[in-house]
Amino acid sequence: MAKFEIENLNLWYGSHHALKHVSLSIEALKITALIGPSGCGKSTLLKTLNRMNDLVEGCRITGRVLLDGQDVYGGMDTSLLRRRVGMVFQKPNPFPMSVYDNVAFGPRTHGIRGKARLDDIVERSLRAAAIWDELKDCLKKDALRLSGGQQQRLCIARALAVEPEVLLMDEPTSALDPISTSRIEDLVVSLKQNYTIIIVTHNMQQAARISDRTAFFLLGELVEYGDTEKLFSLPRDKRTENYITGRFG
């Protein structure tokens, strides 16, 4: 079943047409990878899904984005939307507070009080993000003192703590070393059981390794979308083939 249904989406930053007639449907409980050269609109598409584009001045959108059949831009409460659609940013951005407060921020935002309940959520989220064992003894530690890889997993835990249905990840491993990267890849694959994941990546191998479906973008257009295996072994479009074989540009 489709979690997100994107229909003829167009997006302009001022006069710059950043997304052109994009239509695709994102399947539930699958990992969808968005690939394409820099500036092709991957982050932009991701941000339309949780309406982070609302922050950008002069951003204009036409078309429809449906989450479980509901129009995201049709008067949906953004707070509620972002609770259902979590996001992990390219650059780890933990808040300058303790590990615990970072993870508890989301639940507290949505009205969860009571130490026992929060403790439980924090532990579960950190476990789900495969960082509990490293951090269980230093929950009071300032999150900014963690390593980059730990920070990113903490951010994933923070996103998971509000129990979203979808997780948007914008190049979550681009700032990390190979070991942290592979840990996060394993984590993403394991999260698939409970979450619909959309991940932007510049790393072809990563897309091929972890994703079920892949969408290839070029200059704001969706060039090709399909099962990852097929797209990488038998691309239908010449441009896709050029890109994934590194003969682009």
Partner: protein, 305 residues
């Protein structure tokens, strides 16, 4: 042949350029010397003030008795009684009151300017705040005298010149300090914190109050410290509205005298021990200011401003 000629050309060109270089060198070292001299004058001024204060203040303090001087509650120069406890407390009360008035208002204004105001609003608010910072303290004092003092007299009785009037007035005077320093601290908070909070479903208000403001806390604290410095060092405006009794006030409506106004009011005619007692008062004030500056620089380092 051709090579040689060009060689000679090079040599001929050399000395002229060399002259230029040495002239430039000379100018640069002259400039550096001037700057160094300016810096020396600045440092010298501080050292001289320190030396003057200590040399003139400490002997008086010792003659009165350091303990009697600092903890004595009666200031009667005509009876040779020099206890500055009322003034120490007066300065602390007035400063604390000014903070109660100025800090919440200042921080909220800074938050508004940094995260809520439209660009059009900012266009009015920024100049307004800097104008407020530029108003001379006598003018503030005058405003206090003709507006705040009568208002307090009307509302609460008494003659109006009071601790309360001084607190309100000083609270207004420290606003620009608190607003500008807090605002720049708030503006320096990375946008990624704010976006991270929004992406978790937080509203704008929650993101600002629970993430951005705490992230700027060292800078905001530094603004408060600067405000304290401003409030404790203010003399003129306070003198005009505070009633200036050298007595520990037991109510907000009583008059109060601060360390600064004590000095300003009596320095004109004081002589001998009286004069030394006033300079010793300045030493105490100086110690306060010094500790505030120290605190400020520690906080500033921590805030990375």
């Amino acid at each position: 042949m051709a090579e040689r000629r060009s060689d000679r050309g090079g040599i001929a060109f050399g000395p002229a350029e060399g002259k230029n270089v040495s002239l430039k060198c000379f100018r640069e070292s002259l400039a550096a010397g001037l700057f160094a001299a300016a810096a020396c004058i600045c440092v010298l001024a501080v050292v001289l003030i320190c030396a003057f204060l200590l040399a003139n203040g400490i002997p008086g303090m010792v003659r009165i008795g350091v303990f009697d001087f600092l903890t004595g509650t009666r200031w009667k120069p005509s009876n040779n009684l020099y206890g500055i406890m009322p003034m120490i407390l007066g300065s602390l009360y007035v400063t604390a009151g000014a903070l109660l008035v100025g800090v919440p208002a200042g921080i909220l204004t800074a938050l508004f300017m940094s995260r809520f105001a439209s660009r059009r609003m900012l266009k009015f608010m920024k100049p307004a705040v800097s104008l407020l910072a530029g108003i001379p303290s006598v003018v503030f004092g005058f405003f206090g005298l003709v507006v705040i003092v009568p208002l307090i007299r009307e509302l609460f009785g008494g003659n109006g010149s009071s601790l309360l009037a001084a607190c309100v007035l000083l609270g207004m005077m420290i606003l620009p300090t608190i607003i500008t320093v807090s605002e720049s601290a708030l503006n320096a908070v990375p946008q990624s914190y704010y976006e991270g909070a929004l992406a978790l479903g937080a509203t704008h208000e929650r993101a600002v109050f629970r993430v951005v403001l705490p992230a700027a806390k060292s800078g905001v604290a530094a603004s408060v410290i600067l405000g304290i410095g401003r409030a404790i060092g203010e003399a003129m405006a306070v003198m005009m509205v505070a009633g200036n009794w050298p007595v520990i006030p037991d109510s907000l409506l009583k008059g109060v005298r601060t360390l600064t106004s004590n000095i300003v009011m009596e320095m004109g005619y004081a002589a001998d021990l009286h004069r030394e007692a006033l300079i010793a008062t300045a030493v105490v004030l100086f110690v306060f200011i010094l500790s505030i500056n120290l605190l400020f620089s520690i906080l500033k380092r921590r805030a990375g401003l």
